[in-house]
């Protein structure tokens, strides 16, 4: 891959945007690679956390936003814990994931997006998460109808699935909260 190291690349609009949204200074990253050394999903991704950081430093917007590492990240924050410069890498990844919403990049993002969306949809409708609602929503929306179906009897036998969703009293307020945030951040 050819890398642009000109002044323009190093002070890109994209980098400024990520820094502003995440509140992190990307200039602090000196590519030691400790984040990638501890990353549990390292074997599954082509772009490791330190490479992702480098892409943002160099303003490589398309590469960063379409990288698979965003969608394999478990959010475990090992990278944060080990970063010698104290950069909140999870926050940067959250920011990048948020940005993919607008441009519709995102290789391999379908299942994870669907999971997040089914999760939040459930919270929005009931105020609390019902696991059966989440699994049903995920399986239907993602098209993977049989995900975890083999496990369901175990859970039902042990009475471990909350079947009826728990609703809260002030559901109208919660829905206004969701609406307001959508207004501020854009859908």
């Amino acid at each position: 891959m050819r890398t642009d190291l000109t002044d323009k690349a190093l002070h890109s609009e994209f980098r400024r945007k990520v820094e502003a949204l995440s509140g992190q200074n990307l200039g602090n990253c000196y590519q030691c690679g400790k984040c990638s050394g501890g990353c549990p999903v390292q074997p599954d991704v082509t772009v490791s956390p330190n490479r992702l950081m480098r892409m943002v430093q160099l303003g490589m917007e398309e590469e960063a936003l379409s990288s698979d590492s965003l969608w394999h990240c478990t959010g475990c924050a090992t990278c944060n814990g080990r970063c010698p410069m104290g950069i909140d890498i999870v926050r940067i990844k959250d920011t990048l994931r948020g940005l993919t919403k607008k441009v519709r990049y995102g290789r391999g993002s379908l299942e994870v997006w669907t999971f997040y969306e089914s999760f939040l949809e459930c919270v929005r409708n009931f105020g609390r998460l019902s696991e059966i609602g989440l699994m049903g929503g995920y399986n239907i929306n993602s098209g993977w109808l049989w995900t975890n179906m083999r496990k369901a009897p175990w859970f039902i036998m042990r009475n471990k699935l909350g079947v009826s969703p728990h609703t809260i009293k002030r559901l109208d307020r919660l829905q206004r909260v969701f609406d307001r945030i959508e207004e501020i951040e854009g859908k």
Binding site: D94, S130, E131, L134, V177
Partner: protein, 295 residues
Amino acid sequence: MKYAYYPGCSLEGSGAEYAHASEAVLEALGVELEEIDDWVCCGATAAHATSHLLSLALPAISCAAAEKQSLDIMTCCAACHNRLKQTNQQIKDDPKLRAQISEIIEEDCQGSASVLHITDVLARAVGLDAIKERVRMPLKGLKVACYYGCLMSRMPEMLLSDKSEYPMLLDNLMKAVGAEPLDWPFKTECCGAALTLARQKTVIRLCADILQMAKQNGADVFAVACPLCQANLDMYQAEAEKLLGERFSIPVMYFVQLMGLAMDLDPKRICLDKLIVDHLPVLAQKGFIDAAVFL
């Protein structure tokens, strides 16, 4: 001692035994709980991975409710604890953010209540000595692999003020009830957490590594404090065995279930029968459960 209790969604569903066992143990140790009025889901990974404001607004609703009850917040779930504590701290430190979030949730949230995890309450507020005194059947000779997972151990300055790479809170609690906590290297490895539906292969691989390491170190049981760690390690143990081609059969128990067992609490309240990997062989072999009762 009284706390505003935030159960969280998992503890009303797949982690019900964690809730029941925690309530039983805390009651036996004289800790009172008052459920937060009309609490809502903390949003967990789904919120913070997709919307920064939502990840703060959802926990803030519950924090504001707890402030009205003028109690400190206690929660059992590692993810809820992580989200509530981070939100609370950010709202407390940043007046501009406080104003914005208060406006969004139509309620004043000051960030004045402290957010505590149940391990914190047990080990620090109740104290290890009080727990030792309450033990009726020490779990002598039970080798416990204390598994903290990610959300309990990262960002130590904000969370548990325990060491992030080698925490000891659970180990100390297990020692207090007479068990033998293991010195093993995977205490804080990640189990794959929320990817459990979307990236099953990853989760199975990560769980297999953790299970194998525990077995190599001679673990009889796991002690966990997070409903997702428990679900993943317990539910995918068969798949992990297939992946690595070896038997594990290590029961994955909540640490409060082990404490309840040692404190001789009502077995119905510690809900051991809800575990997928059978706990009877190990516990009966060590003599903590009368095997005949279950035949």
